[in-house]
């Protein structure tokens, strides 16, 4: 039997038991919804995924787009898949009814999208960028800009990109040099080169809307002088029809380790005098508009990483149940039939580790999606601002933890399959390659760790940090009162103590010694915090499972909840203790990397 893309029972658990997504229907924005429409949307996503994405997943990976005569050649099936997902409504599932959306709550849309990601994260990439681009224009554009550029993206006529990186400005966006000059008609002329622009050129849609970061002539240096522009591939007339081609040229394609079906382009703006661009909002505020969407974009990266981990886990689990090989160490009879490899404890270890990583990561991302929704739709102003506070604080973890441990889970999936996992007859090697992008884009792990320690922890008098700790302690108290979970409650409590001690030591060191030296260990701090947060969410899952198990009569249901509890136990026994070592290293100011010198290599 083929492996399921995702474990449907687990997704139901995450949405309706771990989170209480049905309760969101009480909010004004979601009052037309109920569990039935949530499930229907997820079912549609699954069907689109299985019908259009999954059959071409391997082919998309093996047939990279080609650069021919200044244009992109790619598999025609990608267009069918993109069109099918667009027509089914997935570009605008969370958008307002007015722009053709379904007003789905973000956690529900996240689960629906997970099917498309599992069946073809690369193909979905084209749509995700379009969704992000349209959302940004809707948030910061004028009504005319929304009508002209966002609405056609929602309907699938146009695609969208984000054009930030330049050859000399990647993680250091402050140094970007693409320039913009105001023209007489109020529009701008853009000149410069952008690289790694995903979906930067293709013929899947009539037109492509690039959102370009550039510096208006005379603007201040650094990040304070960056503006945001809409720069279309084709100009658009007032009646919505396409005009002449804009001065945007495809300079070439990059060839990637994973995500190979999605074009990564180098674009030249203004080779013939300047590409026409339209300012979004005000001059010099471009980066803040872009960062406005950054939380959502980072949740999306985390979710993608977690989902690829989930699907790799399902694939290797299915394989382990069907592949006979070897006998147990205790079996001395060479004539006995070989056992399915899931009978080997080490294989179960690798499966359990994947389950703990992947489901822990997915829970974290769904929790993030819930907060991202709550910050706009929670009933009271206080709840909305609390949600925003916690989300801003958790974002470095939500982006990074799944991105770091998702590929590790995929690596274990390869290991479960052994030699079969290393060849492209099975998709697990592709999952690994595809997932390996995630610690890099939308802010690398290093950048995220600086964001956490240097910005998010001290932010607003450490308000986000303290709120996060308070919530974790609440769960400790709950679990401490439940027979069977006391041990995990205790472990989490000690881990929180380690975390707070470490934080205080680091903040004090940052204040009175060399900040570069303290921040040299920022990634280790992020790992420490990430593990504590994921342990917390595992304990929350464990609480739900523990209670449900006691009330459950059905054998399959009982097994499901026992599996949840076992993965939680694994995480607490095997993973959480890593925090002891990380904390000790951080407290003693481990400095071998900091003290290492270029010449010594």
């Amino acid at each position: 039997m083929p492996a399921p893309l995702l474990n449907e029972r687990d997704l139901d658990f995450m949405l309706y038991e771990f989170l209480d997504s049905e309760s969101m229907c009480a909010r004004e924005r979601y009052r037309d919804h109920n569990r039935e429409s949530f499930d229907a949307a997820i079912a549609t996503a699954k069907q689109v995924a299985e019908k259009y994405f999954l059959p071409i997943r391997g082919k998309v990976d093996r047939n990279e787009p080609r650069f021919e005569n200044g244009r992109v050649e790619m598999l025609p099936e990608i267009k069918q898949a993109v069109d099918a997902a667009t027509e089914a409504g997935f570009v605008s599932s969370t958008a307002d009814y007015e722009v053709g959306g379904m007003q789905l709550p973000l956690p529900v849309a996240t689960v629906a999208n997970a099917y498309l990601t599992a069946a073809g994260s690369t193909t979905l990439g084209y749509l995700s960028l379009t969704t992000a681009n349209a959302s940004l224009i809707e948030a910061h554009g004028t009504p005319e800009q929304i009508a002209k550029w966002a609405v056609p993206q929602r309907s699938g006529r146009f695609a969208g990109t984000m054009a930030m990186t330049e050859p000399g400005a990647g993680s250091g966006l402050a140094d970007l040099i693409t320039s913009a000059e105001r023209a007489e008609d109020g529009s701008y002329r853009i000149t410069g080169n952008k690289i790694y622009i995903s979906g930067g050129d293709h013929e899947l849609n009539e037109n492509i809307v690039h959102l370009v970061l550039a510096r208006v002539k005379g603007a201040p240096k650094g990040t304070k002088g960056i503006s945001l522009f809409i720069v279309p591939k084709f100009l658009v007339n007032d009646d919505g029809s396409l005009g002449e081609q804009n001065d945007v040229a495809l300079a070439g394609l990059f060839h990637k380790m994973g995500g190979r079906g999605q074009t990564s382009t180098s674009l030249n703006f203004g080779e013939r005098g300047g590409a026409v661009g339209y300012l979004v909002g005000e001059e010099n505020r471009g980066l803040s508009y872009m960062f406005h969407m950054m939380n959502e974009a980072r949740i999306m990266v985390g979710t993608g990483a977690a989902t690829i981990a989930l699907t790799g886990f399902q694939y290797s689990l299915n394989y382990a149940r069907e592949r006979p090989q070897g006998r147990l160490p205790s079996c001395k009879d060479p004539l006995s039939p070989s056992v399915n490899i899931i009978e080997h404890a080490d294989v179960r270890r690798m499966l359990l580790a994947q389950k703990a990583y992947a489901e822990g990561a997915f829970a974290l991302c769904l929790f993030g999606a819930q907060l991202a929704d709550d910050q706009h739709t929670a009933p009271t102003e206080e709840q909305r601002s609390q949600a925003k506070l916690l989300l801003d604080f958790l974002i470095p973890m939500i982006k990074t933890w799944p991105s770091e441990y998702g590929p590790q889970a995929n690596s274990l999936a390869i290991q479960v399959l052994g030699g079969a996992g290393y060849i492209n007859e099975h998709p697990v090697e592709m999952f690994y390659r595809d997932n390996r992008l995630n610690p890099i884009h939308e802010g690398t792990t290093g950048i995220q760790s600086l964001d956490l320690l240097a910005r998010k922890v001290p932010m607003q008098g450490m308000a986000g940090y303290h709120y996060c700790l308070a919530l974790m302690r609440e769960t400790v108290a709950q679990a401490g009162a439940v027979a069977g979970l006391e041990k995990q409650a205790e472990q989490l409590e000690s881990a929180i103590k380690r975390l707070t001690d470490t934080t205080e030591t680091l903040l004090a060191a940052m204040a009175d010694t060399n900040i570069d030296k303290v921040l040299a260990n920022s990634v280790m701090y992020l790992k420490l915090f990430g593990h504590v947060v994921v342990a917390w969410l595992w304990l929350k899952q464990g609480l739900v499972a523990h209670q449900a198990l006691a009330q459950s009569q059905h054998g399959d249901e009982q097994n499901f909840y026992r599996g949840k509890l076992q993965a939680m136990r694994y995480f607490f026994s095997v993973e959480l203790p890593h925090t002891e070592r990380w904390s000790a290293l951080l407290m003693q100011g481990e400095d071998s990397a900091y003290a290492m010198r270029d010449d010594w290599f």
Binding site: S37, T44, K51, G89, S92, M102, Q103, H554
Partner: protein, 249 residues
């Protein structure tokens, strides 16, 4: 032309069902339910007839508990225009369903009734035939092609020997086989639109129908588990066992 489509709420085809421990029935506790796959094909066929301009209105009917509204709304999201739920907590059986459908047919006067050839829970393959008999309508069962032409419909049937095409005078009952079409899925906007489409609820009593089960289930149990095989040393032993133990040669 008005088309009536029957949809049944059944256990989702992906679910591995098990008998209850007391053997009275299949265990449906906490089990995912869905529209019967053959009924989905029936809805699809009706929607295609509407898209071709043959059908003008599609009515989706279900008979079952209140939650069967979900399956009607699935049909509405796929393109049916309105729904009728005949609500009953009774374990309705083919004859009862056929009688209820006849009452709805009398009320609505459709030219065409399209339904699945069987439901994947009971696997009876009876309701369509019974409805045709009760209403006196022509029947085209196991359809793999349906072509309406004026006041008749040509139905290509999947039969043991191959395909058979029958021409039926309308009104008629058509039951669907797997190859008739590939059902679409509901787009997200259509899922929301379906919520606004009319859905009436009736009861068997209001229609004057007695749906009390006529067939009694004595026992539900899983098929016997397959026993492990044995290895024989040589052909002689095999022949000996086949002859004396299995007694097949």
């Amino acid at each position: 032309m008005k088309v009536l489509v029957a949809v049944k709420r059944v256990v989702d085809y992906n679910v591995k069902v098990r008998p209850k421990s007391d053997g009275t029935d299949v265990d449906l506790n906490n089990v995912k339910m869905a529209i019967n796959p053959f009924c989905e094909i029936a809805v699809e066929e009706a929607v295609r007839l509407k898209e071709k301009g043959v059908a003008t209105e599609i009515i989706a009917v279900s008979i079952g508990p209140k939650v069967a509204q979900e399956q009607i709304r699935t049909a509405l999201a796929l393109g049916a225009d309105r729904g009728i739920l005949v609500e009953t907590e009774e374990d309705v059986q083919p004859l009862g369903i056929a009688k209820v459908l006849k009452a709805v047919v009398d009320k609505e006067q459709p030219q065409l009734v399209i339904m699945g050839k069987q439901a994947i829970d009971g696997d009876n393959n009876q309701t369509g035939q019974m409805l045709a008999a009760l209403t006196g309508m022509a029947q085209g069962t196991f359809a793999s092609e349906v072509a309406v032409d004026g006041d008749s419909v040509a139905v290509t049937r999947e039969i043991d020997g191959g395909l058979q095409t029958v021409k039926l005078a309308l009104p008629a009952v058509v039951t669907t086989d797997l190859r008739l079409n590939e059902p679409r899925y509901a787009s997200l906007p259509n899922i929301m639109k379906a919520k606004k489409k009319p859905l009436d609820t009736l009861t068997p009593d209001e229609l004057g129908i007695d749906v009390t089960p006529r067939v009694k289930t004595l026992k539900v149990e899983p098929p016997a588990e397959r026993q492990a095989g044995i290895k024989v040393a040589d052909v002689a032993e095999l022949v000996e066992k086949l002859k004396n133990e299995a007694k097949v040669i």
